[in-house]
């Protein structure tokens, strides 16, 4: 393989000398055949990495394999998902509760896998809902949403959901500054009055349970993206800002006037200590905390009523501003924790700050004024270097663990590889088109797996067969194991991927759960054996305790239901075999089907409006007799006296 690559490179170089115009065409054939080998995962073989791509406006998280680019699953998080009944079933509806009521959609942006000592540990993946601020935790043994917490005093939950290096906190920063607490006031009084809340949500090490520890009420800038310090900078968190002008209208012009905005450096350990010692102000609030129990297979909502807020000026030495040119977007920290990269999206250059220099400047108290009482460090004092890339519109940077960084350029549609410390550009490759985030598995941890980088694009245009005006977004995979990046694959994604997170397959595959144990099912309406199946009337509510196994429902004939009843089908799947779900749907139900995994119980509500005999059936082709897996419910007039009756095989 090595020799082949050398030959190809040599041939390419020779051809370039002869004729620049033919170089691309001539080497393409050889390159694409080796690229095919690199991404080809033969039938029956499995991928080397998991990749979790955010779904953006789909509200959900998608799971892919690398290097094949094959999609394995869409995990419903913030959006109703009729495929499984998530957000439609009685058990999962509470997961989408907020202080604004039931919100069946969100805009999911930045997945981050839990870490221990700065390395991926694969317990959970955290994602943010941007629109109605929420943070969700997805369990990586069931690949299901386990918990969603609403973030009060926040708006446009964008500089989220990044974790500290031992998953002490998942951090949620507000993009939009808003009145805190919310109140009726003039929009034009924004400046000096709105606040930007940065929320630190603690994660319980034993079960991942989330709880808001404190909210730092920062000046009313826009907090765009963030990443944690790691290694030597563990204990700090860095947020990019824009709109330090505090404009409230026509931001594309008015928020682009300052030559430099800031990276906010937050010493969260200091604030944590301050809060632990009784610091901060307890403020009334109202936000939903939704927890899904894997044994009762049920989500519950608790409305929380207060939150601790911290005024940054009350904790000396906890918050500093690092001037950073041109409305920086991505805020990325290299694997050693030494370099903090501000991707100035209106510029051609990247600004790299030095953690050591920052600490020295803080200790030397070399300040360049202050903003709302927060000290501003001198740009020159904290600057480690600038990458003169020649690209336009840098957005995000990831690392390969070998001393290199990779930055996306939205405007010039490319990924640029450069060297940490010398800031020299090593390579650049086009993307198709207008790339946003990129992802190297573990690329924002102490230990990246620098073999592939995935570039996720905003514009697709001609990459695939056209499908009308609306298309899925495109992504490209590059092999980064050599000096030069090599484009090896191009695949469509689902929704609009923003950030993504990846990890080696062997971190998750061995612990991926196959079934739920029926003997651990604690659902109050579960039936453990078919003989327990029954139908119970309580006023106009009817509860059907139903079990399924290949290939029948128990019971499958039900009479005594009346128009006006509210009928709850509680379906328990009695299979204990891997990959044998059963589905349930009934004619005229005003909701989605249910897809019930082995050992699980799910509930669908049906309010029959017409007299008749109505069929229900299994929606998942479960077995050879799947087509026979069906039944009837007789619906009588509202004034009928027919007794409830249920049976199977009579």
């Amino acid at each position: 393989m090595k020799i082949n690559n050398h030959l190809i490179v040599t041939m390419g170089a020779a051809l370039m000398l002869v004729s620049c115009g033919q170089q691309n065409q001539s080497s393409n054939g050889a390159l694409s055949s080796s690229a095919a080998e690199k991404v080809y995962v033969a039938p029956g073989e499995q991928d080397e990495f998991y990749a979790f791509l955010s779904g953006g406006y789909s509200g959900n998280l998608t799971v892919y394999g690398l290097p094949s680019g094959r999609m394995f699953k869409e995990i419903p998080v913030f959006s109703q998902f009729p495929t499984s009944g998530y957000g439609y079933s009685e058990e999962t509806k509470p997961m989408l509760n907020t202080s604004h009521g039931f919100v069946p959609w969100d805009d999911l942006h930045h997945p981050d896998i839990s870490q221990t000592n700065g390395e991926l540990d694969g317990r959970w993946i955290f994602v943010n809902g941007n629109n109605t601020p929420r943070i969700a935790r997805v369990d990586l043994s069931t690949f299901e949403t386990a918990e969603i917490i609403e973030v009060p005093n926040s708006a446009g939950n964008h500089s989220s959901s990044f974790i500290t290096e031992n998953t002490e906190y998942v951090v949620a920063g507000t993009r939009f500054a808003v009145p805190v607490p919310q109140r009726d006031m003039s929009i034009s009084e924004y400046k000096g009055n709105f606040k930007g809340a940065l929320t630190f949500i603690s994660v319980a090490p034993e079960d991942g349970a989330m709880d808001i520890k404190f909210q730092l009420l920062m000046p009313g800038f826009n907090y765009d993206l963030s990443h944690p310090g790691r290694g030597k900078s563990h204990g700090w968190f860095f947020f990019t800002t824009y709109n330090t002008e505090e404009a409230n209208t026509l931001l594309e012009v008015n928020a682009s006037q300052n030559d430099k905005d800031f990276i906010a450096a937050i010493n969260w350990k200091k604030i944590e200590e301050y809060v632990n010692n009784g610091g901060g102000t307890t403020m009334p609030a109202n936000y939903a905390h939704n927890v899904y129990d894997e044994h009762s297979h049920t989500g519950t909502t608790t409305m929380k009523k207060e939150v601790i807020t911290v005024d940054p000026t009350e904790v000396p030495g906890a918050v500093y501003f690092l001037p950073t040119p041109k409305s920086p977007h991505g805020c990325d920290v290299d694997p050693t924790g030494q370099y903090i990269i501000g991707n100035g999206k209106l510029s051609a250059d990247l600004t790299v700050h030095s953690f050591d220099k920052m600490i020295a400047a803080i200790e030397g108290e070399k300040f360049d004024g202050e903003a709302y009482g927060i000290p501003i460090l001198k740009f020159e004092d904290v600057l480690a270097g600038q990458v003169k890339s020649g690209g336009l519109g840098p957005l995000h940077t990831e690392f390969d663990g070998k001393g290199n960084a990779y930055t996306t350029f939205f405007i010039s549609s490319e990924v640029v590889k450069w060297k940490l410390g010398t800031w020299e550009v090593i390579d650049r490759k086009p993307t198709y088109y207008s790339v946003g985030h990129l992802m190297i598995p573990g690329g924002n941890s102490r230990k990246p797996f620098g073999k592939y980088v995935v570039a996720m694009n905003k514009i697709t245009k001609d990459r695939y067969l056209p499908t009308g005006p609306e298309m899925e977004h495109s992504a490209q995979i590059y092999d980064i194991s050599g000096d030069k990046m090599e484009l090896i694959y191009d695949f469509p994604t689902h929704g609009e991927p923003h950030y993504a997170a990846g990890c080696p397959a062997d971190l998750l595959a061995p612990k991926s759960q196959k079934i739920y144990r029926l003997d651990e099912n604690e659902h109050p309406y579960a039936v453990k054996t078919p003989t327990d199946a029954k139908v119970v009337r309580d006023g106009n509510e009817v509860h059907i305790y139903m079990s399924t196994i290949r290939s029948h429902f128990t019971p499958d004939n039900i009479e005594g239901i009346k128009v006006g009843d509210k009928v709850y089908f509680h379906i328990t799947n009695h299979e204990q075999d891997f990959d044998v779900p059963h589905g349930f749907s009934i004619l005229g139900q005003n909701t989605s089907e249910l897809l019930v995994m082995p050992g699980q119980t799910k509930t669908s509500v049906w309010e029959p409006k017409q007299v008749g005999v109505w069929p229900f059936y299994c929606t998942d082709f479960c077995s050879a007799l799947h087509q026979e897996m069906q039944g009837y419910v007789r619906v009588s007039p509202a004034n009928s006296n027919l007794e409830l009756k249920w049976s199977l095989g009579e």
Partner: protein, 203 residues
Amino acid sequence: MKKASLLMIIGPLFLLGLYVFPLWNIMLGAPQYPDPLGLNIHISGLQGDNEFDIQNIDGLNHYIGMQTLPKPEDMWEFGTFPIIIGIMVAIGVLIGFLGYFGKVSYKWFIGWFALMSIMGVLGMYDFNEWLVDYGTNLDSNAIMKLTNPDGTPMTYKPPLFGHVKMLNFDVTSLPSIGAWLMFIGMMLTLTAGFMGWKNTKKQ
């Protein structure tokens, strides 16, 4: 004779492995079961190779009208075999000790081996009888009633030993650890008998 007697003491103890390890193992693989379903036959009952295998084998077999796999209380063998094995181990060890102290001759060693062999063959015969019943005594209302090319009803007796293809399943039936331990133990007692016999000839 002392060495032979020591072997006669140790040999029967290998049979105690039957209380822990399965005697026989039947694996059922199919395209949709890349991790095969498995049945471990212990002297005291059947166990799935994985926790839910028995339930899943029963679930599949109901389509072709097979009976569910027997629970320990459904077959007298699962109550009796552990007792017989226990008695045989005790007798064997006792014979070994008596041999060690010169109270009995090597013929007793061979006698134990012969008795154990006869019981083993009877056990295999009984096991095969059950396999025949399990594979051929089908529900007349079975969902799928399949026939052989010659028109006779298809039956599903798993092999006593070896591999057969049954519909979509590859069925492999082989002795398991318990049987191999029993085999080793019985060979030790046979060796003990042989050594005792040679010893006698020398004198």
